[in-house]
């Protein structure tokens, strides 16, 4: 029973080793030249205000929730796109139903003011 986990153990060890080796190699090879802008938190191009470790407003949760729904949707869209030609009209209709359901939920949340920052 336990020897079935040998593969898992090897995988874990190789994974840990891979991270250690690449980080170490990077540290040895790269030039060392820090300056304040480089050390600042990356905020998608915005100038960061304050520390990164702050209390986030609970309202972010509703946005992230709605975001996650469509994030997961893409996971389903990719394999669908790959086999789209074989599935034909049926596949198209089914996926439209799926997307339509999600869109209806988004429209509902939108109309109910869930996306408004008050």
């Amino acid at each position: 029973m336990l020897d079935q986990y040998t593969g898992v153990g090897v995988f874990l060890a190789v994974g840990a080793l891979f991270v250690a080796v690449t980080l170490l190699a990077g540290k040895l090879l790269r030039p060392h030249n820090p300056y304040p802008e480089k050390l600042a938190t990356y905020e998608c191009g915005e100038i960061p205000v304050g520390e990164g470790q702050i209390k986030f407003h609970i309202r972010y949760y509703i946005f992230s929730l709605i975001f996650v729904v469509f994030d997961v949707e893409t996971v389903f869209l990719y394999p669908w796109a790959v086999v789209f030609e074989e599935m034909g009209l049926f596949g198209f209709v089914v996926m439209m139903l799926f997307i339509g359901t999600l869109v209806e939920g988004l429209v509902y949340a939108w109309k109910k003011g869930a996306l408004r920052w008050v």
Partner: protein
């Protein structure tokens, strides 16, 4: 395309949920939503009934199973959903609950219950369970300005999340032991390579997890607070539909998947059943608030139903299925009266029932009749249901459990009769009370069904004899 006709009840119900979403945005009259809900539920019911005769079929790699057992539970869920649509409107408007969201969530919760009943596949059962419970967490907290409702929701959510984890762990053990998530294959796998300690561990997690969902003692501590704090129509839904769905899944998992290991669990389940009914009944006696009393009564009733699981014979399963149907009607009807009363007297104390026999004679009479059914007095459906459970327990060799049921029925008399005494013998205000037609219809249906199941139980009993839980 045959698989879609088999799935028609679920498709209609999902469509109803989406339709209600759209209607909530476009229509200003909330009664339109309730009417649409009732019509959609009737269509779902028709689809369920139409599928009843079909032979047991598994579709989509065994993830969905359509058989008479599933259809029967769907019948219970759909009936409850329809009655909830009928009796909730006035309550929700008076308490300023978001009516549209309520109808939408209750529809999707029912869809989850449908999925739980119509699968022998663990992942589908689990997804159904989550769809139902996540909707229920929100439903329990819909009285936004009521701290007790928020408390109900938070408690329900925390306990629910924990127990979902417990259930999942038990299911993952079954998968680890057998390499399958399909209950029939799990049973074959367990019979072929018995690993007693791990099967026991899986059983412990599954029984404890579902014990929480059906509020069996000692896993009940969340239930009274949640059922009391939640909006009353939500309590009614949770006590009936949610509990029945838990039983549907538990029956399938124990009697199909864990069948090879079942004998070792029967004694444990019998003890849980005994403790549950006794604790529920004894605690209910001292309650002064209506919903809390009904919550403990629901715990006790779950104990009676568990007798059917513990005895685990075909007779006991049909007896418990019969009882679940009667229980759904009797409880929903009793809640209709509670809702009517709390529309006028928001405090929801048992004292509020004082003088109801003069204020609203028809309601008082219905309530008395439904409570008699919950005690198990002829000619109600509750009597016949308890009688068949009793007989199944005796035939199954659990005479002590049958005696415990009888004793418990006697213990339960005081608190049910306390309500009847308040209605008929105590002096109270004399202003007449009324309700909207929807609530009256819901109450009428519940009383008629409870009476019918008590006087003419044979058609349903005959139907139940043809149901087979095993594949």
């Amino acid at each position: 395309m045959q698989q879609y006709s088999l799935l028609l009840p679920e498709i209609i119900l999902a469509g109803l949920g989406l339709l209600l979403l759209a209607l909530d945005l476009t229509v200003s009259s909330k009664r339109t939503l309730a009417v649409a809900g009732v019509i959609g539920t009737l269509a779902t019911l028709a689809a369920v009934v139409a599928n009843f005769g079909a032979p047991a079929t598994e579709i989509w790699s065994g993830t969905i199973r359509v058989d008479a057992f599933a259809q029967y539970f769907k019948l219970i869920f759909a009936v409850i959903l329809g009655l909830v649509f009928l009796f909730s409107g006035e309550y929700l408007e008076r308490r300023e609950v978001k009516v549209g969201e309520f109808y939408i969530l209750v529809t999707f919760a029912t869809l989850g219950a449908f999925l739980m009943a119509s699968s022998l596949e663990l992942i589908t059962i689990y997804i159904g369970l989550e769809l139902m419970t996540i909707s229920s967490y929100v439903l329990a907290g819909m009285l936004r300005n009521d701290a007790r409702s928020s408390e109900a929701s938070i408690k329900f959510f925390l306990m629910g999340a924990l127990t979902s984890g417990v259930i999942l762990y038990g299911l993952s053990l079954l998968y680890g032991l057998t390499g399958s998530t399909h209950l029939a294959e799990i049973a074959a796998g367990l019979a072929a390579s018995p690993n007693a300690s791990l099967i026991t561990a899986a059983g412990v997690f599954i029984i404890a997890g579902f014990g929480f969902k059906i509020a069996a003692v000692p896993f009940h501590m969340w239930a009274p607070d949640t059922y009391e704090g939640a909006p009353t129509p939500v309590s009614a839904f949770l006590i009936t539909a949610s509990e029945a769905a838990g039983f549907a899944a538990l029956l399938r998992i124990l009697l199909v998947g864990l069948a090879p290991a079942l004998p070792q669990w029967q004694a444990v389940l019998a003890v849980i059943a005994f403790v549950t009914m006794t604790f529920g009944n004894v605690t209910a006696i001292v309650q002064t608030r209506t919903k809390r009393m009904l919550a403990y009564s629901a715990i006790a009733q779950a104990g009676y139903v568990l007798v059917g699981v513990a005895v685990a014979t075909p007779e006991s399963v049909s007896a418990m299925l019969f009882y679940l149907m009667v229980y759904a009607f009797s409880t929903i009807g009793a809640f209709a009266v509670v809702i009517m009363l709390s529309n006028h007297v928001p405090s929801e104390e048992i004292e509020d029932f004082k003088g109801l026999a003069r204020r609203a004679p028809a309601f008082a009479l219905s309530m008395a009749f439904l409570l008699l059914s919950l005690i198990g007095v002829p000619p109600t459906g509750g009597f016949f249901g308890k009688l068949s459970l009793y007989r199944a327990a005796v035939d199954g060799g659990m005479v002590w459990l049958a005696l415990a049921m009888v004793l418990n029925s006697a213990i339960s008399v005081p608190y049910y009769f306390n309500v009847i005494r308040n209605m008929y013998l105590a002096e109270g205000p004399s202003t007449a009370l009324g309700a909207r037609p929807g609530l009256k219809i819901a109450l009428g249906i519940s009383v008629a069904a409870t009476l019918l199941l008590g006087v003419f139980p044979e058609p349903l009993v005959g139907l139940l004899r043809t149901l087979h839980i095993m594949p």
